[in-house]
């Protein structure tokens, strides 16, 4: 059983859904989560759809931990933790959460072409927050891009978010970071480490 009473989670299979936009490191983050699950001795499945994502589309990855995991896809309404690397994508997938599920949101927007061309409006922060609150109040916002930029590499907001998740689940940071370290280029190890721990302390602030 996975029990996180403070997050309202008590389940035999822990379902993570990671969503973002091509180029945000969503896939790397889901690889880390899947490897972590395996390292902790769980059965693991990680499913993603490649293909058109490189061309500015949404990226979706399902990661499941459990004693025996069957379906690679998480059923609608069964997501325990939604990790959104972009705000609009958070809104697009929030209905996948189980009631009162947890959502970790990178407070960042990437304008889709349908908005830049003037055909659609990017919803305001208040609209997004309100809509998310219809589903859950367990929403955790982290400005991963700002933190990553301050550290000097705006590409590693995904690692900040992983840090936040680690903090939220009250996990051992070193065992998490060891795995991340294997997936990032050696020369950027220190800055990734800083990003990861910064993510942890951001969540501590929110609590």
């Amino acid at each position: 059983m996975f029990s996180f009473p403070n997050l309202g989670i008590n389940t035999p299979i822990l379902n993570f859904l990671l969503v973002g936009v091509g180029g945000q490191g969503t896939i790397l983050a889901s690889n880390v989560l899947a490897e972590l699950g395996l390292a902790f001795g769980h059965d693991v499945k990680k499913a993603e759809v490649h293909g058109m994502s490189q061309r500015g589309g949404s990226v979706i990855s399902h990661v499941r931990w459990g004693e025996e995991v069957h379906s690679p896809i998480i059923a609608k309404g069964d997501v325990d933790i939604l990790i959104a690397f972009e705000k609009l994508e958070a809104l697009r997938f929030v209905d996948q959460l189980r009631p009162y599920g947890v959502i970790v949101i990178n407070d960042h927007n990437i304008t889709p072409v349908t908005v830049s061309s003037g055909n659609f409006i990017y919803p305001s922060d208040e609209t997004i927050k309100e809509a998310i609150h219809e589903f859950t109040r367990r929403d955790y916002w982290v400005n991963g891009v700002k933190i990553a930029e301050e550290l000097g590499n705006n590409k590693i907001s995904n690692v900040v978010i992983l840090g936040a998740l680690c903090g939220l689940l009250n996990q051992d940071p070193e065992s998490w970071f060891n795995l991340i370290a294997k997936k990032v280029p050696g020369k950027s190890l220190n800055i990734n480490r800083a990003a990861f721990f910064q993510g942890i302390s951001e969540i501590a602030k929110e609590h």
Partner: protein, 609 residues
């Protein structure tokens, strides 16, 4: 130790462990990573062939020569390779031959949905259908053994969800110890399919498939999992996972080999459960066969909707399954009483879609901008450049399968269509199946104008090498095909190669050619903007205060150009703005701007100094 492998990585692993040493295929989602992974193993030969037909012929050639071989492709690739499939089904092989077809239910990145298990039945060869990464590795190994045991190619059929799901896999560190191949076979009765020999062969392969069906009765890949006997589920492939997820207490007959089927195993299973159903994705492939055996499947009364047509008794015949779809269908049939969390919960906000688009800096963009201005009918093809169909470029009128563009344009021309047709094709697609139709244009003298968009890579599927790039799959230097010389050799005399970013030259050339008669080929050449070498050249451009919001630059559909919040004081319309994080400095916008309000690269450089 268990490793986390995707289904594709697991197939490559299994093939390697089975001692497969030759692989030839053509990229195509969701199959591509099998070759990319296999190519990295020691002591193997792996290549990208120009198309799937060539790839399969090569693998067949290696298997005739006594080496275990594999050929990989996406589902539609097997349509291209079908001619080869049918002869090798007749001849058999010397060493194991595995044909991998990766199907794409729900068409995540495909032009159609087809169930390639049908090809196994059609050509009388066995078909294995793994349901996760461990299966994928194990079945790849089993496929080679089966191939040699019965002297037949084996179809290893995957689906997107198996290809692109990672799971824990138990692997072996050692490879099968295979004998050295003997002398190349001189066996015309077996390998020369002239009618006299082929006629002898047909009864042989019918007997072979009957024999394999017999073998299937005790084949370890087909297994019964006894649980509650109220409900029995016959399933295979990815659907097995949904069966376990949705019906945890049901008994299951898992068919690892979905063709040919074990009659006795199925009837015995059906006899021991109260209700028996088939759970499978796409076609009623298992279902039809099970019915033909005479098993009474559980039916429910309503067969009326489009989603649940007559041909399948319970589950939808199109689209990928998932637990929610399976639960809903089962509920409808009275087989599931649980809650379905298909929340009427819906976000109440209008969500801007995020459709795929041509990337910032894409060298295809300029041609589509010009074609849009010229208003000619455009027969498109398959690749990144299919995105020319999307607004605001909106410049593709047809797109069917790889290589279709030039033939379809030629058809309109010989049919006497009053408008002049332009065919648009990418470099990899041209090598794949564009050359023969171009020869046809020259030979049969139509006036098609073809644009070959040479972005120096197979882009859509994630940057694979091809005969134009000068590199092989295993990273060897090689010849780089000269497209212009090839076009001339096809019999086309009017050929020009231009820089793909040169909007004016493309426009001038096409306008001139449209006035003249006869076929012509324009090659627009520029590296894909996502290639590492191209990335090094990125400079972001800027809009100056000359902009008056005229909107011309919006019409190129570049994600880096947005409408700013600032309005032009005179016309009260939004000014253009360039997102520095996205702009690559391709200068297409700067060229089309009528007021020179966008700085060119050299202006940016001198401004910086």
């Amino acid at each position: 130790m268990k490793r986390l492998l995707s289904g594709n990585e697991a197939v490559a692993r299994g093939a390697w462990e089975a001692g497969c040493s030759v692989a030839s295929g053509y990229p195509g989602t969701p199959s591509t990573e099998i070759m990319e992974t296999f190519a990295l193993y020691p002591n193997v030969y792996a290549e990208w062939a120009p198309n799937e037909k060539v790839g399969l012929d090569v693998a067949i050639g290696a298997a005739y020569a006594g080496k275990r071989a594999i050929s990989t492709m996406k589902h539609v690739g097997l349509n291209v390779a079908a001619d080869a499939l049918f002869y090798v089904a007749m001849t058999g092989i010397e060493a194991g031959l595995v044909i991998v077809s990766a199907d794409d239910p729900s068409m995540h990145s495909s032009q159609n949905e087809q169930d390639n298990r049908q090809y196994a039945k059609f050509s009388r060869i066995p078909c294995l259908d793994p349901s996760d990464s461990q299966d994928a590795r194990d079945y790849a190994i089993a496929a080679f053994n089966l191939s040699e045991q019965f002297d037949t190619p084996v179809l290893l059929r995957l689906t997107t969800r198996v290809c692109h799901t990672s799971g824990a896999v138990e692997v072996s560190e050692s490879q099968a110890n295979l004998p050295e191949p003997g002398k190349y076979p001189r066996n015309p009765l077996k390998y020369v399919m002239i009618p006299a020999n082929a006629r002898q062969k047909h009864p042989v392969i019918e007997a072979r498939i009957a024999e394999i069906a017999q073998f299937a009765e005790n084949f370890e890949l087909n297994r019964v999992e006894w649980r509650d006997t109220d409900l029995g589920i016959i399933t295979g492939g990815i659907a097995y996972q949904y069966a376990r997820e949705v019906f945890p207490s049901a008994s299951i007959l898992k068919l690892g080999m979905v063709y040919p089927l074990p009659k006795k195993l199925i009837t015995d299973f059906a006899a021991k459960v109260k209700k028996v159903i088939v759970l499978e994705e796409l076609d009623p492939f298992i279902e039809d066969q099970v019915r033909a055996i005479g098993v009474n499947l559980f039916l429910h009364s309503e067969h009326d909707s489009r989603e649940y047509p007559m041909t399948k008794s319970i589950f939808p015949v199109f689209g990928e399954l998932n637990p929610t779809i399976v639960r809903k269908a089962a509920k409808r049939a009275g087989l599931y009483n649980g809650e379905i969390q298909d929340s009427d919960w819906k976000v109440d906000v209008q969500l801007p879609p995020r459709p795929p688009t041509l990337c910032p800096g894409c060298p295809h963009r300029s041609s589509f901008y010009v074609l849009n201005k010229l208003k000619v009918p455009v027969n498109g093809d398959i690749g990144c450049y299919t995105l020319g169909v999307a607004p605001p470029l909106s410049t593709t009128d047809t797109c069917g399968c790889m290589g279709a563009s030039i033939g379809v344009a030629h058809g309109a021309s010989v049919a006497g269509d009053k408008e002049r047709h332009v065919a648009v094709v990418g470099d990899s697609t041209f090598f794949h199946s564009g050359i023969a139709p171009l020869i046809n244009v020259a030979y049969n003298k139509s006036n098609v104008i073809t644009i070959i968009m040479d972005n120096r890579v197979t882009g859509m599927t994630g940057h694979q090498e091809n005969p134009g790039t000068g590199k092989t799959l295993q990273n060897q230097e090689t010849v780089s095909l000269d497209i212009q010389a090839l076009v001339r050799a096809c019999g086309i005399t009017k050929v020009l190669t231009v820089e793909a970013y040169d909007v004016d030259l493309i426009e001038k050339t096409l306008r001139q050619w449209l006035k003249e008669d006869g076929p012509a080929v324009l090659i627009t050449k520029e590296e894909c903007a996502l290639l590492p070498a191209a990335r090094k050249r990125y400079i972001s451009l800027e809009v100056t205060d000359q902009c008056n919001g005229c909107t011309v630059c919006f019409r190129i559909g570049c994600p880096a150009i947005t409408k700013s919040a600032e309005l032009d004081p005179k016309y009260n319309r939004p000014l253009a703005e360039i997102d520095a994080a996205l702009c690559t400095g391709c200068e297409i916008c700067a060229q089309v701007c009528p007021r020179d309000a966008i700085l060119f690269r050299n202006q940016m450089i001198s401004k910086a100094n």
